[in-house]
Every structure is written in C-alpha cells, then in structure tokens.
Symmetry: C2
Subunit: 239 residues, 2 copies
Amino acid sequence: MAGKAELDRILEALDATDTLDGLQQIIDQVCTVFGVDHAMYHWVDSAGDHYYFGTYPQTWVERYQEKAYVRVDPVVAGCYQRFHPVDWKRLDWSPKPAREFLKDALEHGVGNQGYSIPIRGPNGQFAVFTVSHNCDDEAWERLTERYSRDMILMAHYFNRKALEFEPERTPEQAQPLSPREVDALTFLAIGYSRAQVAKTLSISEHTLRVYIESARFKLGAINTTHAIARAMSLGLIVI
Amino acid sequence: MAGKAELDRILEALDATDTLDGLQQIIDQVCTVFGVDHAMYHWVDSAGDHYYFGTYPQTWVERYQEKAYVRVDPVVAGCYQRFHPVDWKRLDWSPKPAREFLKDALEHGVGNQGYSIPIRGPNGQFAVFTVSHNCDDEAWERLTERYSRDMILMAHYFNRKALEFEPERTPEQAQPLSPREVDALTFLAIGYSRAQVAKTLSISEHTLRVYIESARFKLGAINTTHAIARAMSLGLIVI
DNA sequence: AGCGTACTCGCTATTTTGGGGGAGGGGTGC
DNA sequence: GCACCCCTCCCCCAAAATAGCGAGTACGCT
C-alpha cells in the first residue's frame, strides 16, 4: 500500500531521473506500489504521432498505432474534453468502433478498469496518464478514491519529464502575435468574415488584411484557416 | 505549518463547496495554513475577461482590469509558456511595461515574492494559481520547496471548482464527425485548399465539399475557418 | 537621432469558397 | 424491411479571400 512516503519517493525519483529507462523503471514501481496491473503515460501528438512509456504490452502499443486507435479511443477523446480525471466506466463506449477497440484492448491484456488523467502543457500539448487494472467495480472505486490525488501529482511529474526529454516536440516558440493580430485571428476563428471583423475592430478591411497576412507569416501558415489552426494549437488564441 | 492533514482538509472542503463564498473562505484558509499573505486563483480569458477569487486587495484587482494588465503581466505570460510552476524571480521583468506593472502591484499590497502555477483545461482554458508573500529570498525558497506539491494539487482543485461554477465557459458535448469529415477538416486545418484535399483523399472536390458542409452544419459553424476552430477546440481534430 | 515594429489606409486582378439545387449505392440499427 | 447516415458524383453563380503593388504615423529601444 502506498502512503505519503512512497509517493514522495516516486516523485523525488522522477525529479532526479534523466533517462527514459529511468522513467520506465519508475512507472514499473508505480504499479507495484499502488497495486495496479498497468500504468501508462501517453503524449498524444498532432498527426497521430505518439510518445509514451509504461507497462502496456508491446503488442498492444504496436497495434494501437497500427490501427490508429487514437482516433477511436474514448479515453483520449474523453480526457480531451475534461479536466477531471476520468474513470473509463463513465465514458461513452456505445459507438461500434469504440466497442471493438475495447474488445481488442482487453484481448491484448489491458485491464477492465481504468482511470485516466488529462494533462495539458503549453502550446497545446496534451497527454494522458492512465492506470489500469483487472478487478471488480467496488475494489476499483476504493482504489481510485484513495489514490486520485497521488495520481494527479504523478501525472504532473511524468509530464514534466516528458517535456524535458522531448524539447523538440514542444512546438517551436512561435513568434508572438501582436494584439491586433490576435484580435483579427480570434474573430476569424469564430466565423466572422473579413468585412465583419474589420467593422468589429473599427479598421479598414485592408488594414485587417495586413494583420492577417502578418499573422500568417509569423505562424508559417499558408492560408487563414491554417493560421487559425496553428494559432489555436499554439495557444495564441482561444475560442 | 501545513502538514498532510491540513492539505487534506482544504482539498476536501474544496470538493464539498458549492458557492463562490465557500471558495473565498477556503482560499483565506490557504493563506493562514501555509503562512502566506496572498493566494489567488485567476482564470485568464482571451477576450480580457476574468474570473477570479482570492485575497488580493479589491483596489488592485480593479486596477488590474482597468489597466488591462493581463496583457502586460509577466506572470501570466510566463505561466502561459510553461508547465512548471514559476517563481516570479525567474520571470523577465525587463520590459518597461512590466517594471511599471510590478511597481504598481507592490504599491497595491501584492507581496514581493510570488509562486504561480499554470493550469490548463479543455477548450484552451487557462488559469493561474498564485501565492504571494512579503519575505526574503531564502525564506521564500524554503516555503516554495516545501509546499510546491501541495500547491499543484490546490491549483488543480480550485480549477475544478471554477470549471464547475462556470459551465457556460466549457464546451458543449461534441457532435461526432464522420471519418471523412475528420479527414477533410484535418487537411484543411494544415492549410490545404479544397482542390488539394480532394486530390489527397482521392475524391472529387464536390464530394469533399459535401463533407465540409456537413461538418460545418454539425459544428454549427458558419464557414470553414469557424468549423476548423470549433473542431479543434472540441478535440475532434488535432493538429 | 535612428531603427525597428505596430498600426493605419488605398487600388486591381485572380483564386478559392459558399449556397442552391439533385442522385445513387452501401452499411447499421430498430 | 425500412429508416438513417455515410460515401460518392455533378451543375451554376455569387461572395469572399488571396496576391501584387505602395505609403504614412506613432511608439519604444538603443
């Protein structure tokens, strides 16, 4: 059973680690200490790219990527929309692809219970920290209630290390946008036409165009839609 | 001095609260228990909109909004780019507006020391949890080292309540898009024109248009750019 | 005082999107 | 069996965005 001392030891080990192997060892320890079958950190990247470590069977991890399950996985979708940790039971497993995904997961050794914590970093970074286990609902509830705070902290610390180890994944520091550029992109992102935005900002449409072009340039975007997408994933604008 | 029991009490009180007054009382307690002058939760919104509670003097809070200091505040800017908690000393206070802001803050009773934790939620939500105090560097370092984990958890729990109290700020349940719609929006979001997307997906441009229109309809979007923005903030597509 | 950057305005031509129709085949769930 | 949704294809025309020129003011930093 894990008390404060065990948690402290894990977090301190996490702070001190500077290799991926070290992370892997610590996540193994997490399973032992907290008495669960699996623990997994999974950084969900833009183009179906992944960064992860944990105790899921290699066969499952490969299959997950091969089948592009990230597009189906209700855990990822559910975490993306929430701030709270998520018990897998509370997700929507009704769509057929989700049910097939679950069946496949169980066959590959993933536990029937799971608890996942969304983690968000700068520039739109998004990751999930999951613990999974095979047990009945009651035992699972006791476990999640008891350790939910510890898991939040562990998720936080694992993400620190992931960010530290993968600096190149942190999207290049975008050139900051000027306030007017932010205004322009923000209104465009909520569907205003250029004419409407210009009117809203009380500037000529031409001036507005200059902002949009300048923002496009700074963001390395080839059209407005692209600029909006990049600005959003970099966290430069919020809708 | 705050031990595990005090933290637990605060977090449990947080879980149980369902009024803004309750939050205010708890954040007052946080100051007492952790021995700091101020604690503040501040949800930073894109449009300069704010949601906050804490112990900063009302005069300062008003001045902050009146002067639109959120655009200047190095704490907000620094937290926005980081995942780690931030000690104010490590921020860049060199720009003239920042220096003036700091001077103004000190005059309004904000502490000379501060420690701020970035918090990110779904839909680009961003908030900062700050504790501030008047003391020398050494005492401050002892305090932040000792309580940094506690503060991460408190930040998390305060944000939970903020999200709970402000449901209209959180996204409605996403309407699922078909795979082709997701494909279409995804390629549009990385800057492809309709012609390019159609070619990439090996379908006619007309077909593609049907997907885009259908996606627009499902998302309640009035044009493609809007649809991309909504799909991204709902987590339906990832760039 | 000079440099860079943000902000503001104008024109014309071309390319891309949006809105309005319609039509058929295939899979899933009730 | 029959909806219902998904995928695929086609027309025309109006509206909007992009691309190419250029020019002036104001502010802060060095």
